[in-house]
Symmetry: C2
Subunit: 211 residues, 2 copies
């Protein structure tokens, strides 16, 4: 866990969340931010018809709920992908820290700037890549965020529904494309775990000429 994040981790109000539990919900008043201690969390935003887009996947050490710093209500929801623990930092405590520790404030600002760059990259991908490419993106992103364990399998249980939610497509489309990838031996699926066997081929199959 990056050192700077320990500044806010001093306040050890650790909360536990069962798989599927909500850390916070879109529209609720902002009470503070969370620092993920263990587990995995998805941040998502609703749309019509029960559709939603997964904004990002958060791993151990990541900050959650910081979007709320700009307003009074959370613009997104956060749901545990597996049993997780998170350190909760209340707004008053955060305020005090921001006022007292200017280095921390600057580091947090740079963290925001970096998040913004990622968001822009993702905006571009969502707008210009076609669905296959976005699904590939989702897989690569999951691996980048959570890493791989034994057998090179991605270290988090993901449903096809989640992949669809991240790629901005439907369950069925994800299903069909994953099947193609499995048949081509580019990836391997076992239960809720996925293993990327040939990342290069994966990218190539999405013909999405990268920047």
């Amino acid at each position: 866990m990056p050192e700077w994040k320990e500044v806010i981790a001093v306040k050890k109000t650790t909360l536990r969340f069962r798989k599927g539990a909500l850390l916070f919900k879109e529209g609720e008043p902002v009470k503070g931010i969370y620092l993920l201690y263990s587990g995995a969390v998805k941040v998502h935003k609703k749309w019509a018809d029960g559709k939603e887009l997964i904004i990002r996947f958060a791993a151990v050490g990541d900050i959650l709920g910081h979007r709320g710093l700009a307003g009074d209500i959370y613009p997104v929801s956060a749901t545990a992908l597996e049993d997780s623990k998170a350190c909760f930092v209340s707004n008053p405590f955060l305020e005090t820290t921001l006022r007292a520790d200017h280095v921390f404030t600057r580091t947090l600002m740079q963290f925001y700037a970096a998040e913004l760059q990622k968001a822009e990259l993702r905006m571009r991908n969502l707008a210009l890549m076609e669905v296959k490419g976005r699904i590939a993106e989702a897989l690569l992103e999951l691996q980048a965020v959570y890493g791989t364990g034994k057998n090179k399998f991605i270290r988090v249980p993901v449903t096809r529904q989640d992949i669809a939610g991240y790629a901005g497509t439907t369950y069925e489309t994800v299903f069909k494309f994953l099947k193609i990838l499995v048949d081509a031996k580019v990836i391997q699926v076992s239960g809720k775990s996925i293993c990327i066997r040939q990342p290069g081929k994966l990218v190539k199959m999405c013909d999405s000429s990268r920047e």
Copy 2:
């Protein structure tokens, strides 16, 4: 212009940019940030085949190039939509200000947080809305950013190419949909100017049930 931005505007190194001129370019080393004094600027990001996505439209008072704070090179380009003036703030000066003025640093951080929220909203729209809805978004966004002058026309010259670039679609598709909107008397076009006559109907025609 918001007061707080004047903190960095003290340094009056005002630069002029002709319509179409680049303020900075994707991939170039970051030299500083810009504060737009007059005119209008688009921020865009390249992709394959000469395609690009317009990340945002900036109006007078907006900050440009701040994404670069997180890295050494600009992740995006900025191009003047019309003759513009921008106050350039070099990195060293910005560094000094950030170190000295902590209130400014905090305000800038909150600005980032707000930008992040906007980016997420846009991510969701780009991923889940269909093309018509995204074009409508583009029009409404342009009006929100630049406002309207006499005749209620949006106060900036926009090409259909730019609308396509913002909506993540093609020139022809924008052309055809705008024609439908004009025929339905929802909007009005005159040269490079656009006027939204019936915003409600515009939203409805995109069937995109809003949040």
